[in-house]
């Protein structure tokens, strides 16, 4: 009996000190694809890490530790030397960007990528979606999926995957679509969210529209949620709000990482307790994307100014939320230049199934929204404005369409900050534009041979057009 008790003391220290990963939460494995995915992925992990180790916190030490531990379990894992390792797999067809990413992480000394977490080839193969999807994908499927499997095995419990990729690029996008499909097959009960970079409207790649529609249509079938980051929007934020003169990709990526961090860092779980939410990815998906036709999500955050300017500003929750609400309603990409004229339809709800005749065409109808509040006095923040039924489509009540996450712990140096993840019509116009352009090209069969020679047939194009037209129509009919 005595030996049993002493052995149990050993177990106690083993199981129950590392064991609380049980209630720390479930982990997310990130797959970084291509140049875009890898550069952004680095900024995301860096932003998450820096925030969780931010001394400003504005909350008690104990709470800060709980916050840190929760973030850490979700996105990082421990190695022997104590340096946190990102739960990530890096994939690219050429080594340059991956090497840059790895060395940046290693140099920071704060966190690092896993030693064997990369897959890359000697040289790239041109900007070809079809090549990425039909050639690279199947050829390297086993190696890539093995890497992912190894990372998954190091999670005590897996919530799901982030897949960071660009939409319009060549090999990265095609390969990304392929990998997402394989993840669907191999991990059917895990959740998948694709972080998609929407290209500049005036992009330079001729084939970007074709690539975009192929990527989107494939992801729509195999992913659970598409969280879309528009380069145009992020660029504007950098230019106007952050006063950056020479905007580099790094600046864009940092803004994007900030947005993602403000969504996925720990928040209190639903019952108002001070325990952190175990599975934000799952909760988010259940609230926002259960309907298979409506999977496109946008993110907006406020305040958007750089951390350096913060010292000269104070915010109130009322002000922040008012702006955020108007950004939602008027489809504003950023905090400045918001159109305050746009208002929700005034008199009550339209009868079921009928479009409201007096609806402002600029008004953005939402299906579901999630608002995330971080910082001082968060309990006093009033989100009633977001519960207005007029904001939402007629078939879903605000009770089920709107949810809020909160934490008192501030994000970075922002004493108060709010983020909005929205399933609404925000992306319909951009999507429609891309589909239109792609269709015009396709109608004259321009460049189609670039795809057919690697196994993407005209019929695949047609399927993609059909699916996306359906998505545009569904969102349009809200």
């Amino acid at each position: 009996m005595r030996s049993t008790i002493s052995r149990l003391q050993v177990i106690h220290s083993l199981v129950f000190s590392t064991g609380p990963s049980l209630w720390l939460g479930m982990s997310i494995v990130t797959v970084q694809l291509g140049q875009c995915g890898n550069q952004i992925g680095f900024e995301v992990f860096d932003a998450l890490f820096r925030d969780s180790h931010c001394s400003q916190g504005l909350c008690s030490k104990r709470e800060n530790e709980a916050y840190q531990a929760s973030c850490k379990e979700r996105f990082f894992r421990e190695e022997e030397n104590g340096v946190p390792v990102a739960r990530a797999v890096l994939v690219d067809m050429e080594p340059k960007v991956i090497n840059q990413t790895l060395s940046r992480a290693a140099r920071s000394g704060r966190w690092t990528y896993g030693q064997h977490a990369c897959f890359c080839q000697r040289q790239g193969s041109g900007n070809n979606w079809a090549y990425g999807y039909s050639v690279h994908g199947p050829k390297h499927e086993e190696s890539i999926m093995n890497l992912i499997q190894k990372e998954v095995e190091k999670c005590d419990s897996l919530s799901g995957f982030f897949i960071i990729m660009s939409m319009a690029g060549g090999t990265g996008s095609g390969l990304g679509a392929f990998v997402t499909q394989k993840l669907q097959d191999q991990y059917p009960s895990s959740l998948k969210m694709n972080q998609i970079i929407w290209p500049y409207g005036t992009g330079e790649v001729i084939l970007q529209n074709y690539n975009s529609i192929l990527t989107l249509s494939h992801l729509y079938r195999s992913s659970d949620a598409l969280l879309i980051h528009e380069n145009d929007a992020v660029h504007k934020i950098c230019a106007r709000r952050m006063n950056i003169k020479q905007i580099s990709f790094r600046d864009l990526n940092q803004v994007l990482a900030h947005q993602l961090g403000s969504v996925f860092q720990p928040t209190y779980s639903e019952d108002g307790s001070f325990h952190y939410r175990r599975n934000p990815l799952g909760d988010l998906m259940e609230h926002l994307v259960p309907h298979p036709e409506f999977k496109m999500l946008s993110v907006r955050n406020i305040p958007q100014m750089s951390e350096n300017s913060l010292a000269y500003s104070t915010f109130t929750w009322a002000g922040l939320l008012k702006h955020l609400r108007q950004m939602l309603i008027s489809s504003a990409k950023m905090e400045e230049g918001i159109d305050w004229q746009v208002q929700p339809p005034s008199s009550g709800l339209p009868p079921l199934g009928k479009m409201s005749a007096h609806k402002d065409p600029h008004f953005n109808t939402s299906i579901a929204n999630l608002v995330i509040l971080r910082g001082k006095d968060v309990q006093s923040a009033n989100v009633e404005g977001f519960k207005d039924p007029a904001l939402y489509t007629s078939w879903l009540e605000p009770l089920h369409a709107f949810s809020t996450w909160k934490t008192q712990r501030a994000f970075g140096k922002y004493e108060k900050s709010a983020a909005l993840v929205s399933n609404s019509q925000l992306l319909v116009k951009p999507l429609d534009v891309i589909v239109g352009k792609a269709w015009n090209m396709f109608a004259s069969k321009a460049y189609v041979h670039q795809y057919t020679k690697f196994g993407i047939e005209e019929e695949d194009f047609l399927d993609s057009f059909t699916l996306l037209e359906q998505v545009v129509a569904s969102y349009g009919n809200l």
Partner: protein, 422 residues
């Protein structure tokens, strides 16, 4: 004369004792006084009986998760549960929701449940205190009834299909999360079993379960466990007592039924199911046999003309020697299909199916012992079941597709675009 009075008095004493034993064996059982009031259809007895029925009929009810439902909603759950069990009396179902009414009907419903089968034993089995680790069970037995889901929507007004799809999607997500958390649970169980190897006093078990580990780690929880075991003991004792003296209860229930029938003879119902006291077992069997014969007769009557018509159509085809291989292949195919059908109809009296809960034990050696069951075998059984269910699903899906194709064909010029990913 005196003897009869003595017997009546004996019965009068035995009845409250029987009801008290019954109530002690039920979870949150009401007092004998409630039963008496219910016989006379008194309103004060109704809410208690509604609560009791809710508790015993819904698996969620056992966890107090339904207690904050409105009384009308509780009544709805109980009625749908009774309905799905085949409760024959329409009196309860027909009348509008009202939590202070129908206490006599509720009493009849409760007795019907008790009479039908090992209801009490099933209830007791549900709340057994388990010391070992169990497999995460996804299925309940006959007591599994879907409880109320999220938002209540009136079905009279037209509902948007998109809302239905939204809710279905949420359900699918929750299923996936359930599976993920079960996987998580398995990983952690495995860890605990590994870490506590050699700690158990019983050599054949070798390692501790979660409950045992918790007990050793935190003495408080062992107190709770003890209390749970004690209360389970009380219920089991009460159940045994009840079995001894239940006859007197059934005699009394006959009087309740008589009272009911005499008051409202217009309310007819299906022939009430006889209480399943063991002597009446043969009678039931006879009934079933007769029904089976009637069904076979019906089948023959329908099959014969069809066969004759088919033969007339086919004529002399398929008779010659050149048809023998085809015929043999056909016979083989039919035989396989019949075997599959039979397999899917067979009750799960598979010996490898656990009749009672098994404790999860991690072992180095291969032999599971006389009572044990190897995981590999269990997995095989479950895989066969899964394959059977998948096949059935596939069949149903193809039926749906055929139906859809038929509908689509009926409307010329209409193009159907299937939603992706379905």
């Amino acid at each position: 004369m005196g003897r009869r009075r003595h017997r009546v008095e004996g019965v009068a004493r035995a009845l409250p004792e029987a009801i008290a034993a019954l109530s002690r064996s039920l979870p949150a059982g009401p007092s004998p006084e409630i039963f008496r009031r219910a016989k006379f259809d008194r309103p004060e007895a109704a809410p208690v009986l509604w609560q009791l029925l809710l508790r015993v009929l819904s698996p969620l009810g056992a966890n107090d998760t339904l207690t904050d439902l409105a009384p009308e909603a509780q009544a709805r759950v109980v009625k749908s549960a009774l309905d799905s069990q085949g409760y024959p009396r329409s009196a309860l179902v027909q009348f509008p929701e009202g939590s202070s009414q129908r206490s006599r009907e509720l009493l009849l419903a409760l007795s019907w449940l008790l009479a039908r089968g090992p209801f009490l034993e099933q209830l007791l089995a549900q709340t057994r205190v388990q010391l070992g680790d169990q497999l995460p069970q996804c299925e309940y037995e006959a007591l599994a009834i879907p409880g109320p889901l999220g938002p209540h929507v009136e079905t009279e007004s037209p509902m948007d299909l998109r809302l239905v799809e939204w809710l279905m999607g949420k359900l699918r997500f929750r299923w996936r999360r359930l599976i993920s958390s079960q996987q998580e649970q398995c990983t952690l169980l495995s860890k605990i079993h590994l870490y506590t190897r050699g700690c158990h006093s019983q050599k054949n078990l070798d390692h501790l379960s979660v409950a045992e580990t918790e007990m050793l780690r935190d003495p408080e929880s062992s107190q709770q466990l003890l209390q749970a075991l004690e209360s389970e003991n009380v219920r089991l004792g009460a159940a045994l007592e009840w079995r001894q003296c239940e006859l007197v209860f059934w005699q009394w229930m006959d009087t309740v039924l008589d009272a009911c029938l005499s008051e409202s003879p217009a309310v007819t119902s299906q022939p009430t199911v006889l209480p399943m006291v063991s002597e009446h077992g043969c009678g039931e069997l006879e009934l079933v046999k007769q029904e089976l014969q009637a069904l076979q007769e019906e089948l023959r009557e329908v099959a014969e003309p069809r066969r004759a018509a088919w033969e007339a159509q086919v004529g002399g085809l398929g008779q010659g020697p050149e048809w023998s291989t085809t015929r043999r292949a056909l016979q083989e195919a039919v035989r396989q299909e019949l075997a599959a059908l039979q397999g899917s109809w067979e009750p799960s009296s598979d010996p490898t199916q656990p009749q009672r809960p098994h404790r999860l034990v991690r072992r180095k050696d291969e032999s599971p012992g006389p009572q044990g069951l190897q995981a590999a075998e269990m997995i095989r059984t479950l895989s066969t079941q899964e394959a059977g269910l998948k096949k059935a699903l596939h069949q149903l899906q193809s039926q749906c597709q055929q139906e859809l194709a038929r509908l689509a064909g009926a409307l010329p010029g209409l193009i159907w675009i299937m939603v992706p990913g379905h």
